[in-house]
Symmetry: C2
Subunit: 267 residues, 2 copies
Amino acid sequence: MAAIIAASKPSDWQPLDPENTLYLQLPTGRVVIELAPKFAPQYVANIKTLARERYFDGLAIERVQDNFVVQWGDAAHTKPLGTAKRSLPAEFLVPARDVPFTPLADPDTYAPQVGFAGEFPAARDPAIGRAWLVHCYGMVGAGRDDDVDSGNGSELYAVIGQAPRQLDRNVALVGRVVQGMELLSSLPRGPGPLGFYTKGEQRMRIESVRIAADVPRRERSRLEVMRTDTRAFAELIEARRNRRDSWYKVPADRVDVCNIPIPVRRQ
Amino acid sequence: MAAIIAASKPSDWQPLDPENTLYLQLPTGRVVIELAPKFAPQYVANIKTLARERYFDGLAIERVQDNFVVQWGDAAHTKPLGTAKRSLPAEFLVPARDVPFTPLADPDTYAPQVGFAGEFPAARDPAIGRAWLVHCYGMVGAGRDDDVDSGNGSELYAVIGQAPRQLDRNVALVGRVVQGMELLSSLPRGPGPLGFYTKGEQRMRIESVRIAADVPRRERSRLEVMRTDTRAFAELIEARRNRRDSWYKVPADRVDVCNIPIPVRRQ
């Protein structure tokens, strides 16, 4: 993988779009999230409104469930949402023709076809002409209550364990952690049901959530992500499918969509 | 899942065998590992020898690679192995007829068939009549160098991320964490290549590793694991395949072998 990245061309990469990059600032560092407006445009717009109105500042990590998710938002459910919408339509699926798609050849347990849509792991079903993002490690979703239109982006979660693919098509995925994942995944697990923290002092405070475009240039995390529609990424898929080094004796000859990291590097 | 456990019969469970249960004692608590002698008998015997000769006591967690593994052992590679063997044959596969197997109906990306062998997630290939344990979250394996017979159980790892199924059939899996997983998964990630810690003070010290049978009865973790060849477990698989609650709107109708937790409870 390092060799493929080293041999890649500048055109194999694209910089994060500052308008669709979120900085979740924790006392321990910055978590950088690439948003997915092609898949959840209204959620992304609402999250940006919330961020710009400082909704998340001073809230906290409220839940860390081992092998599942880290969740942040307003544990008390009392903070006003400002001008952000209270509920959003279910942005769980999009027309497949509306998004790029680089299919994986390998079979998947959950979906008829999996692959990559832009910089995100995704799936699609040719029978219904729909595509959706999939719950791999590091993907960020928006919590909702029982009604499909009850989410609004004020409660977000990131996957920190085995891909909970049963959530696919049931909830809006809004992006992916591209840097600082370890700041979330190494948090102490919550002692309450579903990994919720039970005491205020257990919750790590969110210092701020900002849109990269709103941050002075010199303070931005200048990152670029490998394009998934390139020969370099195709080589990376093949390298993950069959590890060619002296340690592996039985190459898998298969790969799960969630076992292919989409490389990120400093610009 | 809670309802299925509540409705289960005593015969749906079996207590951990004290002779094949390992207690990894960290300053933060006890990690309980169920060993898998049916799959890696020589590795399990060697690990027990190492534990009984106090090999692991005073060693440390040396590597925590995000979304991959936590590894512990002798970072300096200098501690004598005592009467334990220096190398072991590759216990990566067993004859399928030698182990129980409850197959899953769902397709798997990596193996012709997946399911459960005793209390462990497993796979098998009818074409070659072999079975093997699979690298799900919480599974414990024995590190090796490039030669397949270079491992000896003195370096152990636990999976803390998306199932690295490419390791299947390439390395000996020796057991599974059944309690205390969060003590491993929430450790700070190592800053070095492959997640190795780079300074001594970053490494959490191992207070001791003991076989449960060697610990006074009153100090044992009295745990039992749900049998996977029971109707209760079949119901649990179905419950994981199609979540029947008011939140899920599109049941997956499929499930990955690594998305089915094998329940553990206090006896």
